[in-house]
């Protein structure tokens, strides 16, 4: 049975989990259980919306029953939640990663104090991301961005060491500034259109010639969301914040948070509300090209495993933005597919680096070596993720990069296509460094006594590795029709192309 009234549960259930975890903090295992159950529930709900509805169906629900009224010419007076193909696609990714990360964390977080705080913040972050995804209201989007952001600042500082606090402060300052810019843009939009609902805003704006004010809004939104997505001129916080967090949180931050808060919002607002104007396309292409280059080249020089992965995230988000910037159906499909793949392999790699740190106590790749012998599961799964990141043919990452490059060629962006291809070669080089120094080679004497990580952590690693290996199947017509194509159609159908 499908019921659009169930849409608010994506937010309500994780929130209830968070509040209950704070209430029952004394009972040791209750927060863990609540964390896993709430993310399991959201994942099942998103699966339910994918499998049991016609592909491309779109649902809307008015909170409090305040929909459109004739007194204001059919505009929406309350908050409307919208669930369409793109939303479902993102919800499935976010909640899938969250589920396996929460299971992984049951084992991993035994090393830290304050478990209830971890799960409360984790669920708040999940609720914030889900809220951003399902909302159809500009200001509501800002509120949920803030929930997810503040939870992530606190989670980055979870270890309360010098580095964690410093990284968290930088992240909080940058994120706070981004939020202010976004809020300012929302106010400008409200002042000039008189509504906050995205659908109504599109109707009001589509008839008119864009005034200078709208271009100012473009600038503010691109800066704000660019800061959240860590596109290159605005990326300074990411390489500090993502490695400092505990490994499950690094996986969430790099895997899904920057996408839900930065990439999704840019795609949703610029494609869906503004109809993807030409100027934005050019800016996105430029930012994407710089991000790809800087991220990959700096990653080459890193010895800290998590820091390398963080720079790699900047570069890969550049690929996603390249696909969006091209703006053709093929480009958008490549971008969404790469978004899916990046969520899988980057969270897998961060979890694997956490497993390595759990066993060996170090993140410096110079001190590792030959870990495959002692930790076959971690090594094997990390290898799968690394191959997917590098874009070696049978793995999923190859197909998405191929689609993006083909789309760039089709749209006559030859230089960008060549640049993307060159950067994927550099990606292969730094990925090779991870596998070469950490997992292959001679086992260091110091590490002779290490053990494989506990069962729950291994399960998460294996599932995510399977997603990396089998991710290419998303391109099969049957799966694509259900999962990927509706999302593409949402963006293109409304967009300028």
């Amino acid at each position: 049975m499908i019921n659009e009234g169930m849409i608010p549960l994506f937010v309500a259930v994780p929130l209830a989990g968070a509040f209950l975890a704070a209430l029952f903090k004394r009972l040791g295992w209750i927060p863990d259980l609540l964390g896993v159950l709430a993310s399991l529930f959201s994942f099942c709900l998103s699966l339910h919306f994918i499998l049991d509805t016609a592909p491309g169906a779109s649902f809307a629900v008015n909170v409090g029953g305040w929909g459109s009224f004739p007194e204001v010419m059919g505009k929406v007076v309350g908050i409307r939640l919208v669930l369409d193909g793109f939303t479902v696609f993102m919800l499935a990714i976010v909640n899938f990663v969250a589920l396996w990360v929460s299971i992984y964390a049951v084992g991993y977080m035994k090393r830290y104090t304050g478990r209830w705080q971890f799960y409360t913040l984790f669920l708040l972050m999940l609720a914030g991301m889900n809220g951003v995804l399902i909302t159809g209201d500009m200001f509501n989007m800002y509120v949920f961005i803030e929930i997810a952001s503040i939870a992530s600042y606190a989670l980055v500082a979870f270890g309360v060491g010098k580095r964690e606090l410093e990284a968290s402060f930088k992240y909080a300052v940058m994120g706070g500034m981004a939020s202010l810019l976004i809020l300012l843009a929302v106010v400008f939009l409200y002042a000039s259109t008189g509504t906050l609902n995205m659908g109504d805003m599109r109707e009001i704006l589509s008839g008119t010639h864009y005034s200078g004010l709208v271009y100012l809004v473009f600038g503010l939104l691109l800066t704000g969301f660019g800061l959240k997505a860590a596109l290159v001129p605005f990326h300074a916080w990411l390489p500090d914040a993502h490695p400092s967090a505990p490994a499950p949180i690094s996986a969430m931050l790099s895997g899904v948070l920057i996408k839900a808060l930065g990439v999704y919002t840019i795609a949703r607002i610029f494609f869906d509300v503004f109809g993807f104007p030409h100027q934005v396309s050019i800016i996105l292409l430029v930012l994407a090209a710089i991000s790809m280059g800087v991220g990959a080249l700096v990653a080459l020089r890193q010895w800290d495993m998590k820091r390398l992965l963080a720079y790699s995230s900047i570069s890969q988000v550049g690929y996603i933005m390249l696909g969006f910037g091209i703006g053709t159906p093929l480009g958008v499909m490549g971008a969404l597919f790469h978004l899916f793949n990046h969520s899988m392999f980057k969270s897998l790699l961060f979890l694997a680096s956490g497993a390595v740190e759990y066993s060996t106590g170090t993140r410096n790749m110079k001190e590792m070596g030959g870990l495959n012998r002692k930790m076959p599961v971690t090594g094997g799964t990390a290898l799968a993720g690394a191959m997917s990141l590098a874009g070696i043919p049978p793995f999923a990452g190859f197909w998405s990069k191929l689609v993006i490059i083909v789309a760039a060629v089709q749209a006559h962006h030859m230089k960008l296509a060549a640049w993307a291809a060159l950067m994927s070669i550099i990606t292969i080089v730094y990925v090779f460094r991870i596998t070469r120094y950490a997992f292959l080679g001679e086992l260091k004497e110091k590490l002779a006594g290490i053990k494989e990580v506990p069962l729950l952590m291994r399960v998460s690693l294996i599932i995510l590795a399977l997603a990396c290996i089998l991710g290419g199947l998303v391109l099969l017509p049957q799966v694509r029709k259900m999962f990927l194509s509706p999302a593409v159609r949402v963006l293109i159908g409304m967009g300028g192309v």
């Binding site: 104090t113 304050g114 705080q117 270890g159 309360v160």
Partner: protein, 180 residues
């Protein structure tokens, strides 16, 4: 509307003092002045709910800030600027002001004439639809109650976040990081 300009001028002066003064405690007090000016401006602009909330939140924020700055010997020690950041900030400032002055004429309704395309609905229907005499309350707790849920959650997140960063020890013993 001359009083509005006087107050705005006072707030800008207070902000400049807060940013540039050497003593931290003076800076916090200057921000308090800006906040109080803000709540009076809210009253002038016919927003009593907002003025009340701003006033009490201002007091709370200043108490917390003074707790953070007071009793620290370096409260009066002056730390300079970051030249690069100041440069970026200066460019941002010039661009935004220029853009703002140019752009307000094209697309913004003038001050004092809101569009009220949607919000025309609320004063006309709030009394019947929700039963609340205070239209702003009817908006925050009925028409847009979902936002308020989010807002309450933000504060909850901040409380848990404060508890999290205030823990003495992040990792369990014998696993402390090297820098500890």
């Amino acid at each position: 509307m001359i009083e509005l300009y006087v107050l705005l001028g006072l707030m800008i002066a207070g902000a400049v003092i807060a940013v540039e003064v050497k003593n931290l405690l003076s800076a916090v007090v200057a921000v308090g002045v800006v906040g109080l000016g803000l709540s009076v401006v809210f009253l002038l602009l016919k927003a009593p709910d907002v003025a009340l909330t701003q006033l009490v939140v201002e007091i709370a924020a200043v108490i917390l800030l003074i707790r953070a700055t007071l009793h620290r010997d370096i409260a009066s020690k002056f730390l300079g600027n970051r030249p690069f950041g100041a440069f970026v900030a200066f460019i941002f400032l010039v661009l935004t002001t220029y853009a703002g002055v140019l752009i307000f004429k094209s697309g913004m309704p003038p001050f004092g004439e809101p569009l009220m395309a949607v919000s025309r609905f609320y004063p006309l229907n709030a009394l019947e639809g929700t039963g609340a005499m205070n239209v702003v309350t009817s908006v925050i707790l009925d028409y847009r109650a979902y936002d308020t849920l989010g807002e309450a959650t933000v504060l909850f997140t901040a409380v848990v976040g404060v508890l999290t960063v205030m823990r003495k020890m992040g990792r369990k013993k014998d696993l402390q990081e090297n820098d500890e």
